[in-house]
């Protein structure tokens, strides 16, 4: 049996096992923190409604998440046939929510009751580099508002 194939299968299996475990753990933590930070209102509204005497500041949160070998392989197969890359959907969902949570955590530390004009930016790291593991960065930023 060629050594290449063994290495490949080991990578695939470990990618699946560790990738799934990490995803499960991450979602659990996301659910908990979303509940905890639910009190801070989030909106993409650009114009603040009349709120009286408030002050604001820029808050941001960013996260980089790497794809595991298993998902990358499945996505590679998907490239042949087209269709939704469901393997990537959960990856980006986690990244967006984590970035917003970090932003909200920063806003909470500032003492804000709400964050406005929230924007999300996504970029892939290692773009198009041959043989590299794909990672995405998601940055969330907005204006945190607190009452004086």
């Amino acid at each position: 049996m060629p050594i290449d194939l063994i290495v490949f299968l080991v990578l695939l299996a470990s990618g699946y096992i560790f990738g799934q475990a990490a995803e499960k753990r991450h979602y659990k933590s996301i659910f908990e923190r979303e509940k905890a930070l639910h009190g801070i209102l989030c909106s993409s509204e650009r114009h603040l409604p009349e709120m009286g005497n408030v002050e604001g500041t820029l808050v941001s949160g960013s996260v980089v998440i790497s794809i595991d070998y298993f998902k990358r392989f499945v996505a590679g197969l998907r490239n042949l046939f087209g269709g939704r890359i469901s393997a990537y959907e959960s990856l980006l969902d986690r990244a967006r929510r984590e970035a917003i949570l970090r932003m909200k955590a920063e806003a909470g530390a500032y003492g804000a009751s709400s964050v406005w004009n929230i924007r999300l930016e996504t970029s892939s790291i290692y773009k198009n580099t041959q043989g590299s593991i794909g990672s995405v960065e998601v940055l969330a930023y907005g204006t945190a508002i607190k009452f004086r």
Binding site: L5, L41, C42, K71, V74, S86
Partner: protein
């Protein structure tokens, strides 16, 4: 003041709730299917194109690769080989071989009950086969069958198909180069080929025609298959695995005989005495691994 709120959004909107392994298995099966179909198409195409390789080229290839033919080194072997070659020539004269095609018969003292046709018009007849045949007509049937393989370019078609598959696999998996070199350098012309059932059938029909032209009848042609049908399968797997069912072949021969033979008893030609004599077994050769 306008009312803003963050209601709880249900899960599963942005993420497909599907087991990741399901996607993986489906995609893998589809990709494997496409790959297999492509390799099959490639091998069929190679088998088709390789017929256009001139026979002289095939012979040149065979002479470069043929280290396995046992040389007739004793007088008895030479006599047997000459007899077999003469028989082949007689049959070949009635088989419409292309002008540039020639048949070379090799005799092997090996006890294998077999005969085979390989690249370059080389045919190997084993002593083991001769031992189980009752007369020359039966031997002629086997010989004509092998000549028909050569005439229909079956060995090089098998080589072309095998080579295409190997090339595809090695270039896809990337484990190629080393494996490829090993395969080419060790290329065993004898174990390499397996002909398809339709090729075997084609060869049988051609062989019967040749027998009819050479002897005027096809009696005795079924002798080898009748012998083989009585044997436990294991000993003969090498020969029979790709061959059509023996009963079918015997039936085919009988049907051919009914259609083409004049009724009545035909004379069968005996094998010469010297061909049945055994000589001390030559040192083991690589012919039957």
């Amino acid at each position: 003041m306008a009312l803003y709120e963050n209601p709880e959004i249900p899960e599963g909107i942005n993420v497909t709730a599907e087991h990741p392994l399901k996607d993986f298995v489906l995609l893998l099966l589809a990709a494997t299917g496409i790959l297999l179909a492509a390799v099959l198409a490639l091998s069929l195409l190679a088998g088709y194109l390789v017929r256009y390789v001139p026979f002289a080229q095939e012979q040149a290839l065979a002479s470069r690769l043929s280290t396995e033919f046992q040389r007739a080194n004793s007088d008895a072997s030479k006599q047997k080989q000459a007899y077999l070659q003469a028989l082949a020539n007689r049959l070949a004269a009635n088989m419409d071989l292309p002008k540039d095609m020639s048949i070379t018969v090799h005799y092997s003292t090996d006890k294998t009950v077999n005969a085979m046709a390989t690249l370059g018009g080389n045919i190997i007849i084993f002593q083991g086969l001769i031992d189980v045949l009752p007369n020359e007509n039966a031997l002629a049937m086997v010989m004509a069958h092998e000549i028909a393989h050569v005439r229909n370019r079956h060995p090089i078609v098998a080589l072309g198909r095998g080579f295409a598959v190997l090339l595809a696999i090695s270039s896809l998996t990337g484990v190629g180069d080393e494996l490829m070199q090993r395969w080419v350098s060790n290329m065993s012309m004898i174990t390499l080929f397996s002909f398809s059932r339709s090729q075997e059938h084609e060869a049988d029909v051609d062989a019967l025609q040749a027998l009819l032209k050479t002897y005027g009848h096809v009696e005795g042609a079924a002798a080898f298959f009748e012998y083989a049908a009585k044997q436990p399968r294991l000993e003969l797997t090498q020969l029979l695995s790709t061959h059509p069912g023996l009963e079918d072949r015997v039936a085919q021969i009988q049907q051919f005989a009914q259609e083409h033979d004049a009724a009545g008893k035909h004379e069968l030609r005996a094998l010469p005495d010297f061909i049945m004599l055994h000589e001390p077994q030559a040192p083991a050769t690589a012919t039957c691994d």
